[in-house]
Amino acid sequence: MFDPIPWLILSPLIWATLAFVQGPGRGGRLAVAGVALQLALAATLAQQIIAGGARVYAVGGWGAPLGIDLAADGLSAVMLLLTQAVALPLAFYARAYFAAHAAPLRYFWPLTGYLLAAMNALFLSADVFNIYVTLELLGLAAVGLVAVAGGAGPVSAAMRYLLATLLGSGAYLLGVALLYGVYGSVSLAALAPLIAADAPTAVSLAAALMLLGLMLKTALFPFHFWLPPAHGNAPAPVSALLSALVIKASFYLILRLWFDLFAPIASVTAAQFLGALGAGAVIWGSLLALRQTHLKMLVAYSTVAQVGYLFLIFPLATGAAAEVAASAWQGGALQAVAHGLAKAAMFAAAGAMIAATGRDEIAGLAGVATRLPLTLFTFVLAGMTIMGLPPSGGFSAKWLLLGAALASGQWWWIVVMLAGGLLSAAYVFKVLRQAFLPAEEAAHFKPLPRTLEWPAFLLALASLLLGLWASEMLNLLGAA
């Protein structure tokens, strides 16, 4: 049987290196072909997992403990599919975006390839040290992408991002060192049965360090300080990749560690604390999004807020009945996917509006509704998922989370979710209101190529249709 697991990592490595040699023009075509291939590979893997359960692949024929094992289950397959499904339209979008700019960015395609390779490898990793290596590769590629356009703003945002991400992975690696010191193993499968409720204090310390490091990388409130400048200053295709996918990678690891590895020592207090930080993110991020005067900064703060919803899984699923926990877990995973699709669409649409009006301020959007109807429609569809309106994927996700909160009697999370929904409606309508105003006399709209508008629209449509496909996705998630 053909095994797609190694090729999901090799394909982006190969085309990224070729793109580095060939330059941006051919590099873009290579990237589109490569990502399309990866999407097919991820779909094949998902089918194999639905049919035959979780898969393990020993790299080079050397299995653990001597070699490195790669593993894929339902959750990794969902994340792999999301990654390629977001990257493919964004590759088309980025080609059109950079074609419209005078100076093509030489390092965009290679760095994107390495970013995707690191991300795919992260979702397939089966040991905590391999996860560290992929986290660092992911962080370094992402920092390079933020700085890819040059200029004082992006470079200082990239520097801030680099320091935050290095601190995060440092804390994570210290946790790995403690775990290895206690148990003498780094394999997730070997560690899971060893960690019991009476584990030594060093293990709790390791868990705290690893989770803290990953929270910093996921930009959970109050560790979100690096995200808005990094995502707001990068070119639009880069912001879309970072906001939709990169922060989900570290969130995926938090899910894995919390539910697979540290479940016996995960306390209800710690879960409530994580939920409180998530609630803080929802409220604070939405309020700040509402206060922004620049479109991309608004979308970036919206990411800070949406990340908060992801962390409501932990109080809802920890110490609750199995059914409630399952519903919370599914809601959280669905939220990660829905937000990934919608935020990629939103940043891409924002980039198209900025390219057409030539201004980044929300005040400059007047007239967009008549000149760029498709792009504005994209923004609205993505906004529906962000707000959680039916039938979007964001609605199904928030519905499952609300259901779990009701069933476990934790009404305070319901208040947070409803307030967050209202606030996100406020900031989406802030943009729409301006876009529907008549264009100013002096306003000049640059015509946009269709390839700059359609990929974003398809992403937004996918985030909306996810609400209808939710049961298929949950089916794949449950395949273990």
Binding site: F129, Y132, V133, E136, L140, V143, G144, A147, G150, G151, A152, V155, S156, A158, M159, R160, L162, L163, L166, L167, G170, L173, L174, V176, A177, L178, Y180, G181, G184, V186, F225, P228, P229, L287, L288, R291, Q292, M297
Partner: protein
């Protein structure tokens, strides 16, 4: 107190020094050095804790080698960015957050 514990505690102390420096120092070169101090601390914990049986364990040594490679790459990237920042803004420090961006002052 046995030798592995001394190594591990020294490593932990270095980690704390490094993190403190990374957060409190303003000069970018000092921040990058602090990151390397932090990394050395982690490597010391990794190698130190794992040799409790008295026999050196090769696995953490291989991990530390990988970690050193990653740290060199990260340091190189940080230095390149710091250099670009120096060229463009004339300063080896991060600019203060723009006022009002992350604040709710009305």
């Amino acid at each position: 107190m046995n030798a592995p514990l001394i190594y591990a505690l020294t490593g932990a102390a270095l980690f704390v020094f490094g993190v403190t420096g990374l957060m409190l120092q303003a000069h970018l070169l000092r921040k990058i050095l602090a990151f390397n101090v932090m990394g050395s601390g982690i490597f010391l914990v990794l190698v130190g804790l794992a040799q409790r049986t008295g026999i050196p364990d090769p696995v953490p040594q291989a991990m530390v080698l990988t970690g050193i490679v990653v740290a060199i790459a990260a340091t190189a990237l940080a230095l390149a960015l710091a250099r670009q920042l120096l060229d463009q803004s004339g300063e080896m420090r991060l600019p203060e957050e723009e006022a009002g961006k992350d604040k709710l002052d009305v």
